[in-house]
Symmetry: C2
Subunit: 298 residues, 2 copies
């Protein structure tokens, strides 16, 4: 898809050649079309998972969170994900899938729901790919009271960071999804890409959608799992499958590119945690996530 593939103009941040007028908008973009679910019956939704959001042959875990998030936003009385906890069971492939949701509890401020995404085996039996518990609310109702000690990640300006197009060779993990993301990595966390990992469990990047669509709570679910794994900078090669990932959406993101920082402090016994922070253009911490991932043997 030439549009999505064309890199954003660094000087314009998100905007592609042609300027803001040509940018996709929330509600009318590839991300919105590809995460859209069709209600089969109350609480049950069909979707044909696009091949456009895969890493190698598996659909990206953050993209799947957004799909489940769309279904729950329809099924629950509140519009925005506040916290989503996902357990990844089997790898999702492009193709038909069904999302089955359950309303667990509805309250005044928060509603809690559950959702599972299934695909089909050769006999047409449903195979569960991912199961989530989530609480939804309305981000517009949050007070402006902020007492935070968190600070945005130290990352060079976007034009000094590097994306797949800038790499000396195709980045490991580079796949169809890479064409759809504006992902510019901090050179300080890019050693792994040239065979010289820093040894530090850190990865930082500017993040957006390649077509210029601004961020919203659903795309934050994609943002927290879109960077290369910190394990690469620790010097571990190969797949690092997610066991569990919980994301907290703390604020509706302002327009403009996001900064995403992921950190691993404890790699032990073949497992590691990966903490993500997502910051918006107003220097507000809009999402936090933590995942437990497994270092695949070999």
């Amino acid at each position: 898809m030439p549009e999505a593939a064309s890199a954003p103009s660094p000087t314009l941040g998100f905007a592609r050649a042609g300027g803001p007028a040509s940018r996709a908008v929330i509600g009318d973009s590839e991300f919105d079309r590809d995460t859209a679910v069709t209600r089969r019956e109350p609480g049950v939704y069909d979707i044909d998972l696009s091949a456009g959001w895969t890493i190698f042959d598996a659909v990206n875990g953050g993209f799947l969170l957004a799909v489940l998030g769309r279904a729950l936003a329809d099924a629950l009385p509140h519009p925005d994900p506040f916290t989503v906890s996902a357990y990844y069971l089997t790898a999702s492939r492009p193709g038909p899938a069904v999302v089955r949701t359950q309303t667990v509890r509805t309250g005044r401020t928060l509603s809690t729901g559950q959702a599972s995404l299934f695909q089909y085996d050769d006999e047409g039996n449903e195979v569960e790919r991912i199961r989530v518990l989530a609480s939804y609310g309305d981000l517009s109702d949050l007070s402006e009271d902020v007492r935070t000690t968190a600070t945005p990640p130290a990352i060079p300006p976007l034009e000094q960071c590097f994306g797949a197009d800038d790499a000396p060779e195709p980045l490991p993990g580079g796949s169809a999804i890479a064409e759809r993301l504006m992902l510019k990595l901090d050179p300080a966390t890019l050693g792994w890409a040239v065979g010289a990992p820093s040894g530090r469990g850190e990865m930082r990047a500017w993040f957006g959608l390649a077509d210029g669509r601004d961020a919203d709570p659903l795309s934050l679910l994609l943002a927290v799992d879109a960077l290369p794994p910190t394990a690469f900078e620790i010097g571990i090669e190969g797949w690092v499958p997610t066991v569990e990932l919980t994301v907290h959406v703390r604020r509706r993101p302002a327009p403009g590119p996001l900064r995403v920082s992921i950190t691993t402090r404890n790699l032990a016994g073949g497992f590691l945690e990966e903490d993500a922070e997502v910051w918006d253009s107003e220097d507000r911490l809009v999402a936090q996530s933590r995942q437990l991932a497994r270092v695949s043997r070999g």
Copy 2:
């Protein structure tokens, strides 16, 4: 309960007057007896929630995690919780409860399950209190490979820290559970107890069970939610109910007291995250948790 109420001897760490010989052991302690569940039928367990683990009139959330953890350990083929994500729906009270579990997926290394704890309304209808998703494994199978940059919390020696018995006045939140915990808080995070909160979202403590029972993976589920909320040190009074809490158990804890550090970096819009780290006597990070909590209005 005079035994549990008697403060631990600082010089002996965990041991009460009478010495190690009088210490409770894993499998034969009040914590083990009170978290024990009775299998009604495959996957369904009954328990009478003790009033001994309450804060004010609600059963402690970490204790409930341990109860659900016991049920899942019986229902799943793997023995140890690796990751548990809990959504708190309604407050649990002392009295009868039923835990209903479901095996979601069983794998070679990990099994994933779901569990809900219900109590009963006046008409005897089940009311769901808490729902969890969890992945279990065998901590004994983990490799000894450790590449961590995490460091134990800076906390004074146990004998220089303060528990409920040492407080000038009963600590807010002090309740039945306080008699069953060996909880000695770092004086640097105790300002709130004397009306002078530090303004920093930090709380540190030595943690154990008052009867000297050593820690195990189940008691780690209690440890991550046993300290006073960081909100107290930020200067926020009143209840800070947990919306969601995910804990990762990373290693089987060594004998001896634990050090627990909880941190809040982002209080915004009436919600805050609380990150906990639990360290054992061998300076190993044995558990990590994060919860999203709500600042109750008024």
